[in-house]
């Protein structure tokens, strides 16, 4: 027997409020697992940096601070556009949701593009870890810095690619008017994810790029 439900309210929830609380709480719990996921890498970073301080400083000097700083600004900008998309959902402007998410994708794409430039530069210089790694300086174990660098930034970039993929699904839904001021948990929940990915970079930038400044 078909039951009549409010649009966008799943059968097992009593109210939009309950559904929203569950969705956000679930997102926060998931982000807690993400913190621990990156946490394993931060732990490895900590151990190897304290064991090889000179090598990490030398490796860090090889990174392009200007490109890293530009990317930091780009990513913070994308968090702003994402926040504006969430605001558009709260006030029920469906086209603005799609537009601000489109802007977020552009900025995210810019970040990844700059990352590709940086990566190819490093690979060209022989700084990609593995049997072909080249280092001419006196420091020992600089390769470890690049192990950590590529793993951390690579995993971060993977999170951004997944985020862009999710937005490509959400934008058409937003355009069709799926998200209302009462029910737009996907937009707001995804906003939390995007800000989280942004915050990870806020930690990565100083830890990897700014080790030996000043």
């Amino acid at each position: 027997m078909a039951e009549i439900h409010a649009p966008g309210l799943a059968h097992h929830f009593d109210s939009y409020q309950q559904q929203k609380e569950a969705a956000f709480f679930g997102m926060w719990v998931f982000l807690a697992t993400e913190v621990l996921f990156f946490g394993g890498l931060f732990c490895a970073y900590l151990v190897y940096r304290s064991a090889n301080p000179e090598a990490f400083a030398a490796g860090s000097r090889e990174l392009d601070i200007v490109l890293g700083a530009i990317n930091t600004a780009v990513l913070i900008g994308s968090s702003l556009t994402m926040a504006l998309a969430v605001h558009a959902a709260q006030v029920g402007k469906r086209k603005m949701i799609a537009a601000w998410m489109g802007a977020t994708i552009l900025l995210g794409g810019t970040f990844l593009g700059i990352k590709v430039v940086e990566y190819s530069h490093k690979i060209h210089e022989g700084h990609f870890p593995g049997p072909n790694f080249v280092w001419h300086g006196p420091e020992v174990n600089v390769e470890m810095f690049f192990n950590v660098y590529f793993l951390m930034t690579g995993l971060h970039a993977l999170h951004m690619i997944i985020g862009i993929g999710i937005m490509l699904v959400l934008i058409p839904l937003a355009w069709k008017g799926r998200f209302t001021p009462e029910s737009h948990n996907y937009v707001e929940g995804f906003g939390l994810y995007w800000h989280f990915v942004d915050i990870v970079w806020i930690f990565l930038f100083p830890l990897l790029y700014l080790l030996d400044v000043g």
């Binding site: 027997m1 799943a10 059968h11 097992h12 929830f13 009593d14 309950q18 609380e21 569950a22 709480f25 679930g26 719990v29 998931f30 807690a32 697992t33 993400e34 913190v35 621990l36 996921f37 990156f38 946490g39 394993g40 890498l41 732990c43 490895a44 151990v47 190897y48 064991a51 090889n52 870890p129 593995g130 049997p131 020992v140 174990n141 390769e143 470890m144 192990n147 793993l151 995993l155």
Partner: protein, 557 residues
Amino acid sequence: MSELANNFGRRLHYLNADYGVKSWLLTRDHKRIALLYLASISLFFALGGLMAVGIRLELATPGADLVQPDTYNRLFTMHGVLMIFLFLIPSIPATLGNFLIPLMIGAKDLAFPKVNLASWYVYNIAGLFTLWAVAQGGVDTGWTFYTPYSTTYSNSYVVATALGVFTVGFSSIMTAVNFIVTIHRMRAPGLTWFRLPLFVWAHYATSLVIILGTPVVAVTILMVAAERILRIGIFDPALGGDPVLFQHLFWFYSHPAVYIMILPSMGVISELITAFTRKRIFGYKFIAFASVSIAVLGFLVWGHHMFLSSQSVYAGAVFSVLSMLVAVPSAIKVFNWTATLYKGSVSWDTPMLYALGFIGLFTIGGLTGVMLATLGIDIHVHDTYFVVAHFHYVMVGGAIMGYLGGLHFWWPKITGRLYPVFWSKFSAIVIFVGFNLTFFPQFLLGYLGMPRRYHVYPADFQVLNVMSSAGATILGVGYLIPLFYFFWSMRYGERADRNPWGAIGLEWMTGSPPPTHNFHEPPTVDWDAYAYLPDTPGGTGEAWDAAKPTSEAPEHG
């Protein structure tokens, strides 16, 4: 066609609401997903059991008679990987937890039904990776994947297995996020935290361990795979890495993983003890908080796996003391269960046999754990069969006894059928005897110095090893019997009524099997958990049950 009955006038429930393969594979009903999980994990339990058969057959004689040394390494590794990652960790949460948590808290479903279904698919993909690794010839690193052997030297299918372990972690995380959100946000009106069944508390604590531990092992395994594929040196000392860092990261998850296996089982035992003594459980809040404190303490003890891994004596001493602290909440539980038995109206139904078995076996497993946490003893018995016996007492004697006890307790609720009393009691006793015969001799072997993970041993050890192999045969028979009568009962078993044990709990107030949305009327709770109180008429579950308004329509057949 009404909401309560189908076309044939039969009462409509989650099993007959819809038919066909598609209705199962695309279901979002937590109860059906629980059954899907039950099928999948049973398959991997059987496979892991087959590996154990190989191990025990080889160890029946001192020499290398049956398998090559390399094959033996793969056998015990795959036994560990299959049993831990694909059976024990999901066993109770994904089946009984999935089925019961929404019922116990009066919800229609878990908070995220699609995520729940997705977790089953992710689990099976992980299973396929692992099966693929098995089919290729398996892994020989031990389930612990210690580096640099796993990353550099092992000539087996490490990456495929690692991929399986990595992927199955995500299915655990999906389940755990679902449980935490559901328990926080979807309890029935009036069902406060301290009215929750202890099964729910145990799963809450388990879910905390899963969400905080699993991501760490995932990223660690990712590093192992990166090191092996790209030939970089994260953990390989020859390339500048630190193998001890791997052990820290690995055990940061894999020790708490032990509590992922045992906590849900403890939750089951709390339910069984109170139901079969007709008494409110002794020290409800202590048991609830003991679950949470085991979950918290569990994150602070990983170093006791590394007493001999270049850890400083001071670190070793700290980890030793912290490990012993875990005994406190564990003992609180055991003593409270025992206190509940005191002057209870004990009935010896099959689930109760498992519960009593659990208390005895878990106590032995736990106390030998305290011995192993003692630095001096651990150095003596490190990597011997003493350790093997200890963790089998906890995982098989504890976790699997709880799992089987829970299956027997809630089987009538799950299927609406009863299983044969004689055979179920018989198999519970066979399992208990077979288990002790298998693993008790291993304590002696380990104490005498037989190291684990070897396919040959001095002839002096043969008697005890033959006892162990014989016990394993009995244990295997004990596990097969329920497989037969459970299948038999699904078709021929006597129909169970709503509450065959006269137990108290929301899950017993709805039909057996429950309707798709669990309750016809959303329940409201104004009583404490396990309200088997003297002032309730008769003080029993049946009387309590009759006095309460039910949310169930009359039975039609």
